[in-house]
């Protein structure tokens, strides 16, 4: 559904050219829900805007929905839906009218567009507010309408730019159901998100972009496995130096990093590592204030791949 090779985008700034996307290779298969993650400024939105024809590509190749992105943007547009981060409805127009005109712009006649709009209002549970101006909508209703607008012409591929940012937990759960329903109906979904649990829950595959390059790609399970084993967080009393010296040379610890006064240890098997860590630190006279064992989450994958935790980078 999406195939890119060496996709690049440079912006000309005052201090020379900035490479926002520096050679991205992506393969998204039909029917997949694909998560695209990255810190702010990593090139996430730029990539999305290129793939949805909003931004010209500087160099590289891409086919989107079976059409060449650079040479047939008009054909790409007919086959994709795009839901931007800012939303897509105007406050002074009713939801039903927004849906209907969207259908009309894709060539539907009035009858077909009205019928499809009514259908979408029904499935998105917006029938009650369909004839009200969108300025009266709640955040969740507005976001669902945005998705409806993107789906109006039954696209093969839907781009969702941060579909749940700013939503309350209940609306977020409602949106997740919607994305799952899309997957069941066979629509390919390409979504960006700031929430790793969202990517974990919804996506078949995930790519992480940082500094304009893909730093990890795979299924959530593969990525978590790649981080390997378990994570032990060691919180010694006072400075971490002593604890670090004691643990540094140990064979069972694959990697040791430091994070806000804690030591983060990557180990193969947490259950056997814990007693060893306690014994070693005890022997060296280090007092522990906290000690915890974590199964790797996508947060850890993200941290390992980008050196940042995604929450720090969220706006």
């Amino acid at each position: 559904m999406i195939h890119t090779r060496g996709l690049r985008r440079t912006f000309k700034g005052r201090r020379g050219a900035v490479e926002a996307v520096a050679g991205v290779d992506l393969d998204v298969l039909g029917g997949q829900t694909f998560g695209f993650l990255g810190p702010n400024g990593a090139g996430k939105t730029t990539t999305l805007r290129m793939l949805s024809t909003l931004l010209p590509v500087t160099s590289g190749q891409a086919t989107v929905a079976g059409c060449d992105l650079r040479h047939e943007p008009a054909k790409v547009r007919e086959r994709i839906g795009y839901v931007s981060q800012e939303g897509s409805s105007y406050s002074e127009v009713t939801g039903r009218r927004e849906l209907a005109i969207q259908g009309r712009l894709y060539g539907m006649n009035r009858t077909v567009a009205d019928k499809r709009a009514a259908e979408l209002l029904e499935t998105l549970e917006l029938t009650d507010c369909g004839d009200r101006k969108t300025k009266t909508y709640s955040g969740g209703q507005k976001r669902r309408l945005d998705v409806g607008i993107g789906l109006m012409h039954l696209p093969d591929l839907l781009f969702l730019d941060e579909p749940t940012t700013g939503l309350d937990p209940q609306s977020r759960a409602r949106m997740w159901d919607e994305v799952r329903r899309l997957r069941e109906s066979g629509t390919t979904v390409f979504l960006t998100t700031h929430y790793l649990e969202e990517a974990d829950a919804l996506c078949d595959r995930i790519a992480i972009i940082d500094h304009g390059k893909i730093v990890a790609e795979g299924t959530p399970e593969e990525l978590k496995r790649e981080v390997a084993g378990d994570i032990v967080l060691v919180g010694p009393e006072g400075p971490t130096d002593k604890a670090r010296d004691v643990l540094k040379g140990q064979d069972f610890i694959r990697e040791l990093t430091e994070e806000e006064g804690d030591l983060r240890l990557y180990v193969d098997a947490g259950e056997t590592a814990l007693p060893q860590i306690i014994r070693l630190l005890d022997g060296a006279g280090v007092t522990l204030t906290t000690l915890s064992l974590h199964r790797p989450s996508l947060d850890d994958v993200f941290f390992r791949k980008t050196g940042r935790s995604l929450r720090e980078t969220a706006p």
């Binding site: 024809t53 409805s89 406050s91 005109i101």
Partner: protein
């Protein structure tokens, strides 16, 4: 065909948005009416000054007022576009196969229609004050207003798309429209101005529209100035639409 259909769809959309908020229509009419009520009477005492164009105060002032309506009405249209830009609507349309030119023409068409309605209201209201309209005068007048509206609102949309922000758009529009207004002879005929001011006024395309409008209202329908005014306004409209269309078709970064 597609261009016409898309333009029509856009036109209907923006027209419905406009009449959904009649306050704008009322504001648009009240302003010129205030000029009519509170300023035009002053002109009556100036009519006999040497250099004042013939035809009586209202036949001199009302045509200029209509040109002003076109200028101010069109220059404000960018605010709505900025609002839509911010809510993501423009981006959404740009991902659809809609004709880029239709995005501009549909809006400009709405602006044009509202402008013509406002102009007609103003003309009717001016009759009891002493305006003596002629059929050909009204037709040419509305033609001039339509061309100004099309050109200026296209330029306003281009500016709004470039600036993307009310706080840059508003100062630009006010800074530009005031000298355009003063140098057009709308308020007082430029014939009364010193030579240097008249010379600067010649660089202002709107001054030709004002001259043409006054001429045609005072029975000189076929004068060279009328044709000149129409031709210059047509050129303004074409340039405006070309610039606006270019902005709409280019990427909004």
């Amino acid at each position: 065909m597609k261009l016409l259909r898309d333009t029509w769809l856009m036109f209907v959309r923006y027209f419905l948005i406009f009449i959904g908020n009649p306050a704008w229509v009322i504001i648009g009419v009240i302003q010129p009416v205030l000029y009519l009520l509170l300023f035009a009477p002053l002109l009556k005492s100036l009519v006999h000054i040497p250099g004042f164009p013939p035809g009586g105060a209202y036949n001199v002032f009302v045509p200029g007022l209509l040109i002003q309506l076109g200028l101010f009405g069109a220059s404000g249209v960018g605010f709505g576009l900025i609002d839509e830009l911010r809510s993501g609507v423009i981006e959404r349309f740009r991902v659809t196969p809609v004709s880029r030119l239709a995005l501009l023409l549909g809006r400009a068409g709405r602006d044009l229609l509202t402008l013509l309605i406002q102009s007609l209201i103003l003309l009717l209201l001016a009759i009891p004050f002493g305006l003596k309209p002629t059929f050909i005068g009204v037709v040419v007048m509305l033609g001039l207003v339509a061309l100004i509206g099309l050109g200026m609102s296209s330029l306003a949309y281009a500016a709004a798309l470039t600036l993307k922000d009310e706080n840059s758009y508003a100062p630009l529009v006010f800074t530009l429209s005031l000298p355009l207004l003063l140098l057009s002879g709308v308020l007082l005929p430029l014939q009364l101005a010193p030579q240097w001011l008249q010379d600067i006024g010649k660089a202002n395309p709107l001054s030709y529209a004002v001259t043409a409008a006054r001429d045609v209202f005072n029975g000189n329908g076929g004068s060279i100035d009328v044709w000149k005014g129409l031709a210059i306004m047509a050129a303004l409209a074409i340039v405006g639409v070309a610039i606006g269309a270019r902005r709409f078709s280019r990427a909004i970064a």
